[in-house]
Symmetry: C3
Subunit: 264 residues, 3 copies
Amino acid sequence: MSETAEILERVREKKPLVHHITNWVTIYDCANIVRALGALPVMAHAEEEAADMTLIASALVLNIGTLTPGLIEAMKLAGKAANAKNIPVVLDAVGAGATKLRDDKCAELLKEVGIDIVKGNASEIAKLAGMDVYTRGVESTKVEADMKELARKFASHRESVVVITGKQDIVTDGNSVYLCNNGHDMMSKIVGTGCMSASVIGAFAAVERDYAKAAAAALAVFGIAGELGAKDSAGPGTFKQNFYDALYNLGKQDVEKLERLEKL
Amino acid sequence: MSETAEILERVREKKPLVHHITNWVTIYDCANIVRALGALPVMAHAEEEAADMTLIASALVLNIGTLTPGLIEAMKLAGKAANAKNIPVVLDAVGAGATKLRDDKCAELLKEVGIDIVKGNASEIAKLAGMDVYTRGVESTKVEADMKELARKFASHRESVVVITGKQDIVTDGNSVYLCNNGHDMMSKIVGTGCMSASVIGAFAAVERDYAKAAAAALAVFGIAGELGAKDSAGPGTFKQNFYDALYNLGKQDVEKLERLEKL
Amino acid sequence: MSETAEILERVREKKPLVHHITNWVTIYDCANIVRALGALPVMAHAEEEAADMTLIASALVLNIGTLTPGLIEAMKLAGKAANAKNIPVVLDAVGAGATKLRDDKCAELLKEVGIDIVKGNASEIAKLAGMDVYTRGVESTKVEADMKELARKFASHRESVVVITGKQDIVTDGNSVYLCNNGHDMMSKIVGTGCMSASVIGAFAAVERDYAKAAAAALAVFGIAGELGAKDSAGPGTFKQNFYDALYNLGKQDVEKLERLEKL
């Protein structure tokens, strides 16, 4: 069995509980994709319980898509609890580079919480890495840089895994660099793809301590489900449902046959 | 016509307005399922209007899935307005047994508001009934107890209806006990099933003052729609849509033919 | 090419960023419909960034479906930024006429922000125009008035565009009156239709400065997608997905053939 298929099996066997403090646009999709994968989602954003819920979870996914200062405080409490428990913390830096609030709050989270996997699109990650770029709302803009090298340096500097999603996904821990070529254009026609992929990464990291390997495998599985889901879809509405079905039904043979993951 | 089919017809004729103060994960599904059923949903969680909106509604559904202390205050205001107007109040105790905040706030709601129907999965209800159990996020854990007897005693003690959802749903007012065997395994593969069932119970209780009968009928209708929706579904994505369609199209013949409701 | 088809092409070419401060029930649908249309959604409700996000957007859509006083403050900040930048502001007055909070906050928004397009169902707009009507939650009630004339007068008085959605949609800037007869009954069987239409209006107004023309074209396109989506739908679940597909795939020939827009 390929390593990716093997980690997917582990997710389905262990059914890790993935705690989210996330945004109000795609919270519904994040919960559903974790369930379709075979893991269990939970969302608890009150400052009074964010840490307690983390203590019964196996991974924590933070997503700043519709951040408020209060929500960020809950993220810090949950993040510190996750660090203490030594479970993986994923930060999806949605809209970094679009407003000062997002940049400031990302900086605070990266400083105060041990983030194990930082994820974003090209302009979001470039912004976090210190480049002078801007993000158009939550849409990536063109970044004039070698993104592989930028990701690798940023990961080395932070001693964490960095994930850049796009037509080709890049995953690196500063040493190994994975390129994932799975996926389908239809995935960019719906809202929530990026957020859902962070949730899937969280579930994979819950069962695989090599977080770069976990994130790369998660993106391959996610992309393959997108490819299969797009097959008989007439548009983004039916695609979304077929995508869920494809992930739910994804067998190890599909993974082994369709996986397009390179390790540099 | 069976009593269940008759109450369903009443829901569709009267189109009760079901007010929700609920969670941000499944709020979308709760609203849609009420509409697919033929009733009307409304959601208004501001403390400044929670009571006012309740006064034009015919049922109130409270769901603590993503509670905050402020949201609980709005629930209390709405709950007291519902009590004054004598319309049914349903509490879906999502995640009771997972964190101290959830346990404390459930206790407050149960003390300060007249809750007519308390609903949860096995470990949530066991926790509320005073057992030393824990809930894995929002997922039930195994409870070592006779759940029918636990529900009956808790209902008698509280003088309200108690609903425990699971493979077999249990509904009791402390005297009568209903067992509902409708439903399909696919319903546990999507997020929101439990929340949606509470919304449907609210709509049924809006038109039937015997709340145990109303809740049992609601769960039978909900389960039958799940069975029919699962028929041609390839996975949880298509199932969700077919489930909505099945509930929307459900005829009284379907109900009479497929209903598997026992009264002990 | 018809004007409507031409504006739709402009939306798809320019891909305007449509900023929303909206409700938690249909936020997911609002984002997805904007994307299916070919434009880009963003949602950012923190008071600390609501204005900043507006400054990179091409339209602002405000929706009071699940308002709180804090959310209204964010709307005011965003609205004033939009006014300063001279981009269109749409207000969807969800539930005006149902509670005092909604009426008061609509009045504040209409006073403090330059609202370019005020949208609602019949009883919501009648309430805003000063009639003594009530709205049943978010459902329109029967209004004893000539709605075309009421809309025209209200638009003249406010010097803005007024949109009343219903079986026949009415759009007016006080001079021209457009009647849109597109749409399908199935659109009233799902939650979110009204909210989504406001988002589509925002996207059209982002690329067409004649806001009455933009809103009328948006409603025609939205209604045509509803008609096409309803064709092979067995109920509201499959309809929702087919509706997204239909909007995504909508060609100019479809628009020209199916458009039923009158200008009085």
